[in-house]
């Protein structure tokens, strides 16, 4: 007996009682519909969640120079001067697992606008890639500085929201000039608000400028020797500083502030304080670490037995959160899906049992004209599967429609997942086979004489 003949018989049998068939499949329709809707909405939520965790820096790797030491005395983290912007470019060029990378120099200095001043949490000298690495590309106002600004050490900067509040009292700062250690910077953009990071530091209390400008015009030193009280060139006229002689003794004759601004950088050190690199995804982080390590060892000519002169740190905590959240979400959805499908399957089994009892005479007749037990088994099994697949198809339409409706009306993120649809089809067919088997088996075991006599 051919499969399509069986399917035809099954369809005819179902068409004989369309109302009941429909009510029966309703269980599967709702089950599969719920699964599809949950999967799509869940996938959307999961992606949104991933994105927001990623924007907290889950994919970001921080590469910092290692510890210099001399005669057994360690000078503390970040004291070697071997990390260069060229390292950053090499990482970007040679590590396929890295999406983007930005060199960074840091400074801490007083910022002045008009009669107001403020010492921001961080003044970062970097490249435009930093915004991409930190997932911060949408500015609240203005535009980011360009690679050309970096090349030319242009005195432009982008302000964080906290600075706008502190220095400008909410007035748009774009186009205004601020001074960092007496170097004037034109504000060309304002960052969008990011709030505090996981350690509670205000991430908006920041100024971004080309790293060349910060390095050569503002600090002129590496991070290790940056010191707020000595760095200010204005301290030559501030007699109070002499009361607190924290300043390091200067070996060279000091330039006046005019001389210094005319010749910004007598000696150009090209070391940077750190490199921030974004991996393609959180999964690729271990790979990215390996690639960066290889590239930097080669560039720094570190022998195999020598320790690295740099450290790579990932946001392990964030990554762990990310993966647990995603797993939890998936498992939760799976549980809901299983329950609704089992309920639907029990409905199918119930109605198939009723159907077998009701059609006992038909089964007897079919056996009398030559149907074997397995023909009957197959007929009822196919009937159950047809019911489930029809229900599954309707459920897919319903679920997809539902999730689209949610997207349109509530604006929730939704992701159509072909895998979920394929799973739903397979699962509904599976439910048909599992829950249709017992009734079908019962039917196939009927005695034709008894069945024909059944009233």
């Amino acid at each position: 007996m051919r499969v399509y003949t069986t399917a035809g018989i099954a369809l005819k049998a179902l068409r004989r009682n369309p109302m009941r068939a429909m009510l029966t499949t309703l269980g599967i329709v709702i089950g599969v519909g719920a699964v599809i809707a949950m999967m799509e909405i869940g996938a959307g939520a999961s992606t949104a969640l991933k994105k927001s965790i990623a924007s907290m820096g889950a994919n970001v790797l921080v590469i910092r120079p290692g510890t210099a030491s001399s005669g057994g005395v360690s000078f503390g983290a970040g004291t070697t001067t071997t990390l260069t912007p060229e390292d950053c470019q090499a990482i970007l060029r040679e590590c396929p697992a890295i999406r983007n990378a930005a060199p960074m120099v840091r400074a801490r200095a007083q910022v002045v606008y008009g009669n107001r001043n403020w010492v921001p949490n961080a003044i970062y000298g970097t490249t435009p890639a930093y915004l991409d690495v930190q997932d911060w590309s949408t500015l609240a106002e203005g535009e980011p500085f360009s690679d050309r600004d970096v090349l030319n050490s242009n005195r432009v900067c982008i302000l964080g929201q906290s600075l706008v509040r502190e220095l400008f009292e909410g007035i748009s700062p774009v186009g205004k000039e601020i001074r960092i250690k007496n170097i004037s910077f034109r504000v060309i953009g304002v960052l969008s608000s990011k709030g505090a990071n996981m350690m509670g530091h205000d991430q908006d209390d920041v100024i971004l400028a080309p790293w060349t400008t910060i390095k050569y015009r503002v600090t002129g030193t590496s991070l290790a020797t940056t010191n707020q009280s000595t760095a200010a060139t204005s301290d030559t006229v501030n007699t109070l500083s002499n009361l607190y002689p924290a300043a390091q003794p200067s070996l060279y004759p000091e330039h006046s502030s005019v001389q210094q601004s005319n010749n910004p950088m007598p000696v150009r050190f090209a070391n940077i304080d750190q490199i921030m690199a974004a991996a393609n995804s959180s999964v690729e982080i271990p790979l990215a670490i390996k690639q960066i390590s290889e590239v930097l060892r080669e560039r720094h000519r570190t022998r195999a037995e020598e320790p690295e002169d740099f450290n790579i740190r990932d946001m392990a905590e964030l990554t762990a959160t990310l993966s647990t959240t995603t797993t939890l979400m998936t498992n939760l959805l799976l549980a809901v899906a299983m329950i609704s499908l089992i309920v639907g399957g029990v409905g199918i089994m119930n109605i198939m049992l009723v159907s077998v009892t009701e059609r006992t005479r038909e089964i007897g007749l079919r056996m009398a004209v030559g149907a074997r037990g397995r023909d009957i088994l197959r007929q009822f099994l196919v009937e159950a599967v047809v019911l489930c697949l029809t229900g599954g198809a309707m459920g897919i339409i319903l679920g997809h429609g539902g999730s689209q409706l949610v997207r349109l009306l509530l604006g929730w993120p939704v992701e159509t997942s072909p895998a979920a649809i394929a799973t739903a089809v397979l699962v509904s067919a599976g439910v048909g086979i599992i829950f249709g088997f017992y009734p079908a088996w019962k039917a196939s075991r009927l005695d034709p004489i008894e069945a024909l006599r059944y009233e």
Partner: protein, 241 residues
């Protein structure tokens, strides 16, 4: 030529610890092309004998030869195949599938044949059969739209679709009035005479039994008497339907 030969057929049902013998040694022979009536009061065992003859049941003891093949020990699947190829059934209550057209009812046994017919061929054959029983204009009617006599004729067409040599009819006129009963019986006689189909009817109605040439009366699990009336010798030629 003997189409069916029974040799000491016994059937005993087990009701818990008690054995209930229903058939106590039946031996009979039915020639090809015979028109047989199987009569007896209720409880005599004629239905059980009919089930054994129709390969729906297996005898407890004895031999059953059908067309030179011993079939009393076949498995359920083998018997199903045999029923499909060699036997046709007509029931008292017609047993047509509700909400299924006459044509599809008639074509139904074709879906269990070994050699598979294409659906168009199956339709063609079912149409031919319905025309033969005089329902060529009722192909797409549902059983509920047909009279009792018409329904029984659809059932006969269904029984004959696989061109079986033997047709079993279990009280074929039990649910029909006397006029349509007569029509159905005439159809049986016609099929028997023209096509040489061996027909075995179970009936308790003497009028129906009167149409048969061979009358077998069962009483209490044994053959009471087995008479063959005179008349034309049954055809023994090839079955041509």
């Amino acid at each position: 030529m003997e189409l069916i030969t029974l040799h000491g057929i016994e059937k005993t049902y087990q009701m818990g610890d008690i054995s209930v013998p229903v058939l106590k040694g039946i031996s009979l022979a039915i020639r090809q092309g015979e028109l047989v009536a199987l009569t007896g009061s209720s409880g005599s065992g004629k239905s059980t004998l009919m089930n054994i003859l129709g390969c729906l049941d297996r005898p407890t003891a004895g031999e059953y030869w059908l067309e030179g093949q011993e079939i009393s020990q076949l498995t359920a699947d083998e018997r199903a195949l045999l029923r499909n190829r060699k036997l046709g059934f007509v029931f008292q209550s017609f047993n047509l599938l509700a909400r299924t057209s006459a044509l599809e009812n008639v074509a139904m046994p074709l879906s269990y044949t070994v050699e598979e017919l294409s659906s168009s061929e199956a339709r063609k054959r079912a149409t031919e059969m319905l025309c033969r029983v005089g329902l060529g204009d009722r192909l797409d009617h549902y059983p509920s739209q047909l009279s009792g006599g018409q329904q029984q004729r659809v059932a006969i067409a269904r029984a004959l679709i696989n061109r079986p040599p033997v047709l079993f009819a279990d009280e074929p006129t039990g649910n029909l009035d006397s006029r349509t009963s007569e029509e159905v019986l005439q159809m049986f006689e016609q099929l028997n005479a023209e096509d040489g189909i061996t027909i075995i009817m179970v009936t308790h109605d003497p009028k129906v039994a009167g149409h048969a040439r061979q009358i077998i009366r069962i009483e209490d699990g044994l053959i009471l008497d087995n008479t063959t009336a005179g008349g034309p010798t049954p055809q023994t030629g090839e079955i041509t339907l």
